[in-house]
Amino acid sequence: MTNSSPEPLLALSNVNTFYGQAQVHFDLSITVARGHIVCLLGGNASGKSTTMKIILGLVKPRSGEVTFDGASLIGLSTPQIVRRGIASVPEARRLFADMSVRENILMGAFVRNDRDAVAQDLDRMLTLFPKLGQRLAQRAGSLSGGEQQMVAMARALMSRPRMIVMDEPTMGLSPLYVDRVLELIRTINQEGVSVFMVEQNASLALEIAHEAYVLQTGRIVLSGPARALKDDPRVRDAYLGGSEAA
């Protein structure tokens, strides 16, 4: 299925979303190329998190199309979408607080039935996130924010996804962990997993992303290669405009 212009892995086209009367997205179109890291930037209430929810099927758009690997995701339930190969690192981690770290990581493999391979993958996670090894039996809720972020990422990887969507993976982390998380995203990506991430912290996200989109009150106002956007003053303007409105 390779042709001259490779089909994107994920594509949102002309998505319009509403919460009751209020319109959240206006003709939103985003594509994630295979093997790329794409980040969606924007201030508060710009519609970033809703974009995540659209991809995961937690919110249904009123119109527009969402395709993953050429097939439409519209009308599929969240579990069905996850089985297609999309894993999620939700906003604020959302670990299963009363389950152990081990159980949390294994929950990520819920859609898989190959027990032996799952056990191997768990070992692989412990080499990728060595700190979690000594925490396996601990309640997930008792970990620090940074450690929880590691668990959330390990959990997402356990489904052997083709793409991971991340909602503000650096939110609320200490600077030390922010660097670690970004480095890990890059590592995950180098292993062939495409990444779509939503971020408020533009300068950090643009460092690791291939492409970026800037969302302002539900409209894409800027997009392009991350390298180009990095020094684009309009990114900053879009943010300032957004925060003035908020």
């Binding site: 579990p79 996850v82 939700p90 959302r94 299963f96 009363d98 389950m99 929950m107 819920f110 809720g141």
Partner: protein, 607 residues
């Protein structure tokens, strides 16, 4: 004279029975944040299926248990699929109301199929008792303990080691996150309802054998006890539910040992209220609090209410006022009098549940307080009846508010549980406080209604009197809703944290709502006492509380005119269609279910 060891054994056995109900409630609460008020009905169904199996099919005991568990699980699956799944995207109060409707329907179906008379459910075990220390223990005790412990172990293994069990635990901790791991929440719900129903059904059968008697009144009691045990152990906490159940069984058993059988339930509900007030998350809540109820969107959102012009209301009121001048039958007037009395209760509940958002399930207690006060004032102190009725209203307002006040700090479903328990406590105090209330004998010979020395005996005079009272109450409440106070009430309903941030004192406003509502309900109870001339602790029961709630939802929560229209409809229509009394409760249950599903804003719209 039984020994303390006997009471301990009895408490633990009964506790095991409660645990089978409470564990199911905890599982369901964990996954859906829902208190399943139909759990007791499944228990009832289990008891009757057990009866069919044992008495008619002569199944051996192991097969009986399997049949009951399977049949009850099937009922649970049907409830989940057709009663609750369609409500997934509705407001959070909707599934709660639906389970109440389902429990009415199931109880009535059982009653219609098997008649309300108690039946004997023989134990299939030999009737011997073994000496154990200073007490005795029988094979049935051992069976119940065995079933309880085995179920707990199986459940533990299921939750800890099976994939579906993991899904249940994950979904109960974070539903959305579980979905993002690929967990199909519908399947989890199915599993949980199936398990809960199987355990509940078996529990009902065991209790039937234990007391060698089953009847349809078992249902509500089982729900209440299960809820008490579950909340004591911490809502949604499965091991907590087991410990809470054993504790409840022991507290009841020792309470009975010291004070007598009629105090059994009083101890259960006092335990609940104490736990709710002191440790609302249960005795064993870990440092991490249970996830809070969402602040907004819990409640049926205000819709665009149907605007009825004032002149139309005035014409309607005048029409009803001149009705007795026409040759209408006594029967019509009697029906409308009942509607006005229910309407007063509905006005009270629509204010408390609809306007300020405290869904009370114990509203009949306010009727009882008003009725007893008014009856005793006129009988014992010879207070004129007109004043006595007002006294009943005032007493209901004061005492009702005082009793409810411990629940003011609670939210959402917890308010419903607390009010239900407080309602039961009032009824049990009436039963046990013989020196004042004459206990189970009740009060007879209550003088008829009178006003300024004139007895209101003729149906039309009673009709006018009750119509006048409800019109005055409705006008006052309508005025209240448009005032600043009414706005504050609604603000608290819609978002209590925001309301507090604007400086509204929740306790004060909730008290005001209950004072006003308590007065209306108390007056209704007072009038009823003088009409019936005889009342006892069962005259005003939970069924009436739920009927009032159905009326209020039918009319539109918070809607004053709706409350009255709803009363006339629910009291009047069954009369018009001459529906036999035993089918009425069934119809009320179905109405409640249909409303929640298709028209949660009611006929006239929520305000």
């Amino acid at each position: 004279m039984s020994s303390w060891l006997d009471y301990t054994i009895n408490g633990l056995i009964v506790g095991n029975v409660y645990a089978l109900v409470a564990v199911g409630l905890a599982l369901i609460f964990g996954v859906s944040r829902l208190i399943n008020f139909a759990q007791g009905s499944i228990y009832l169904v289990g008891a009757y299926i057990g009866w069919v199996a044992v008495v008619q099919l002569h199944t051996p005991l192991p097969l009986t248990i399997i049949v009951v568990a399977a049949a009850a699980a099937l009922v649970g699956l049907i409830i989940e699929r057709f009663g609750l799944r369609p409500l997934q995207n509705s407001v959070r109060i909707a599934p709660l109301l639906a389970t109440i409707g389902i429990s009415f329907v199931l109880d009535q179906l059982v009653m219609l199929t098997f008649s309300p008379n108690p039946r004997a459910l023989p134990s299939q075990l030999p009737d011997v008792r073994f000496q154990l220390g200073g007490g005795t223990i029988g094979p049935l005790d051992l069976l119940i303990a065995g079933v309880g412990i085995t179920s707990a172990l199986l459940l533990f293994v299921f939750l800890r080691y099976s994939k579906l069990g993991w899904a249940v635990r994950a979904a109960s901790q974070d539903r959305d996150a579980a979905m993002q791991m690929g967990v199909d929440v519908n399947r989890v719900n199915q599993a949980v309802f199936g398990i809960a129903a199987a355990l509940g059904g078996v529990s009902g059968m065991l209790v039937g054998m234990y007391y060698n008697q089953i009847d349809t009144a078992m249902s509500l009691q089982a729900t209440l006890k299960g809820v008490v045990a579950e909340v004591v152990g911490g809502a949604g906490n499965v091991p907590g539910a087991v410990i809470g159940s054993l504790l409840l069984g022991l507290v009841e058993s020792y309470g009975v040992a010291v004070f007598g059988t009629s105090y059994r339930n009083l101890f259960a509900f006092l335990l609940l209220v104490v736990v709710l007030v002191l440790r609302p998350n249960g005795l064993f809540a870990s440092a991490r609090q249970a996830p809070p109820e969402p602040l907004t969107g819990t409640f049926i959102a205000p819709s665009r209410p149907v605007r009825i012009p004032r002149w139309a209301l005035a014409v309607a009121a005048a029409g009803f006022a001149i009705l007795p001048l026409f040759p209408v039958s006594f029967y019509v007037l009697q029906t409308l009098i009942n509607a006005w009395l229910l309407g007063m209760l509905a006005l009270s509940l629509t204010l408390v549940a609809g306007t300020i958002g405290q869904v009370s399930l114990g509203h009949a207690a306010l009727l009882a307080i008003g009725a007893y006060t008014s009856a005793l004032l006129s009988l014992a102190l010879s207070v004129p009846v007109g004043l006595a009725v007002i006294g009943g209203g005032l007493m209901s307002a004061a005492l009702g508010t005082l009793l409810i006040s411990p629940s003011f700090r609670l939210r959402g479903h917890y308010v419903s549980i607390a009010t239900l328990a407080i309602g039961e406590i009032v009824s049990l105090v009436i039963l046990n406080w013989e020196s004042v209330t004459r206990g189970p004998i009740g009060i007879s010979g209550i003088p008829p209604l009178s006003l300024f020395g004139y007895d209101l005996i003729s149906p039309s005079s009673v009709y006018w009197f009750s119509l006048a009272v409800i019109v005055v109450l409705a006008l006052l409440q309508g005025r209240l809703l448009t005032s600043h106070l009414g706005r504050s009430f609604r603000a608290i309903r819609d978002d209590d944290i925001a309301a507090r941030a604007y400086g509204l004192s929740l306790n004060r406003y909730k008290s005001l709502a209950f004072i006003f509502g308590g007065f209306a309900a108390g007056v209704s109870g007072g009038i009823a006492a003088h009409l019936y001339s005889y009342i006892n602790h069962e005259t005003f029961n939970t069924q009436q509380s739920i009927l009032a709630l159905t009326v209020v939802i039918l009319g539109g929560l918070g809607n004053v005119v709706g409350a009255i229209v709803g009363s006339v409809a629910l009291v009047g229509l069954p009369e018009v269609f001459r529906i036999a009394a035993e089918y009425r409760i069934l119809i009320y249950g179905i109405v409640l279910l249909l409303l929640v599903r298709f028209r949660p804003q009611g006929l006239l719209g929520t305000i």
